[in-house]
Symmetry: C2
Subunit: 227 residues, 2 copies
DNA sequence: ACAACAGTTCGATTAAGATCGAAGTGTGGA
DNA sequence: TCCACACTTCGATCTTAATCGAACTGTTGT
């Protein structure tokens, strides 16, 4: 039973540790240079170059020249979702992998998942939005009238986006929390806006830090207590 | 940047052609024996045994003894979704894989995707349901009042299922059609019911065949013209 | 009890590909 | 023009794991 588009080649591509680390490093949606990815993967730059060529050929990444650097990014949200899915599966395996070490608590607390907020903060945020009736508590949440007003108050306008292909809201399963956080277009806009407002700040890698202003604002607007 | 639950090991597991074929063969939700899976993968039974042990250890499969056979199935919907996601990515790569050959047209036409209907038939079916207002045309469709009545007419009762964890409806991206078909609980019930009614029949592997009765019923109930 | 069958374990072989040193291409800045 | 830098290509080495023959465990049916 030959399988049409061979799933194995793609999986094998992701299955190499060096390449997997590169892909994981790109999960926050940024574009990184070949050298940066080499460092992230823990290999020399020649090796990284080979890997990147393969990922590019398979269209998992898109490359873009800028001066003498080449910037790579994930080629689409579908790639990111598969990667998150794999993380979920890896999580289940559990005990096998516990050796890896420190398990950055900041990463557990708040991090970026492709282009929206994940981690404990992301999960509780979604909880609050549902609890207040700003989103419908359906499998795929929708923005209520109250919600639309609330988001406009934050400076996030979503009505104009209704016709886009990307789902407005999406429950994105969180590998560290085993619960869902808010993805989709609204999730992405919300993160962008919160960073514009200076409530959140980028940390190392995928880590997101809450500023003092943010702490106040989150308590004020969402009823979240500081951690 | 060590990645918590190592995504690479899981992906590598799926990345071996033999194991990938086994997983693909299990995508229809059936349980298969080790020998059947060996044949599906095109390897000897000893080799298959080794692979199955690994997949089992990683919790991608669950095993169940029955007499002198061991039946394996995918351990959950999350595994199936990651596999479909990988198929989607493999599809994009396109030209690289065209060599594989026949590309079964029956498989394109109608097949089972884990536990619901996919392929051209699955896609047009979802279209019809949306067009007739039986499902809401939202990112995650919901069953309308008309829809609930319609499904009851088919012998599919869904109200009682409202409280279950599994999403009622779900747009599941189709790797052969590049459009969505109906997944979720409703998708699963619908397929089961159609097979009970003798409208659809299992073919080789994941292929689904439409019976003459089914052809009439689909035209009658859904306004689908025979192909 | 015995033969047939399903599956597992072991060991030797073999093939694939990840890795890095060294050398090559091309861009940017002095 | 020349050097520094980002990246790519080539070639040799080495590790990993997929594969199958053969032997072993355990179950079913006669």
């Amino acid at each position: 039973m030959k399988d049409g588009p061979s799933i194995a080649t793609v999986a094998a591509l992701i299955g190499d540790p060096a390449r997997a680390n590169m892909l994981a490093a790109l999960m926050d949606g940024r574009a990184l240079t070949a050298s940066e990815l080499a460092e992230a993967a823990g290999v020399t730059i020649q090796t990284a170059s080979g890997h990147l060529a393969k990922l590019d050929a398979a269209r998992l990444l898109t490359a873009e020249r800028q001066g003498r650097n080449r910037y790579f990014r994930l080629s689409g949200t579908d790639v990111a979702f598969v990667l998150e899915g794999l993380m979920g599966l890896a999580q289940r395996t559990g005990a096998v992998q516990v050796r890896t070490g420190p398990r950055d608590p900041a990463l557990r607390m708040a991090r970026v998942c492709y282009d929206h907020l994940a981690g404990e903060l992301g999960v509780t945020l979604l909880d609050r939005l549902l609890l207040r009736g700003l989103l419908t508590d359906t499998p795929e949440p929708d923005v209520t009238a109250d919600g639309a007003a609330f988001f406009i108050g934050l400076g996030v306008h979503i009505d104009s986006q209704r016709k886009r292909r990307r789902p407005l809201c999406r429950r994105c399963l969180d590998w560290s929390e085993r619960r869902s956080h808010l993805g989709g277009l609204v999730g992405a806009r919300l993160l962008t806006r919160m960073m514009e407002q200076g409530w959140l700040r980028r940390g190392e890698g995928r880590v997101i830090l809450v500023t003092p202003d943010g702490r106040r604002a989150l308590a004020d607007r969402f009823g979240l207590v500081a951690d």
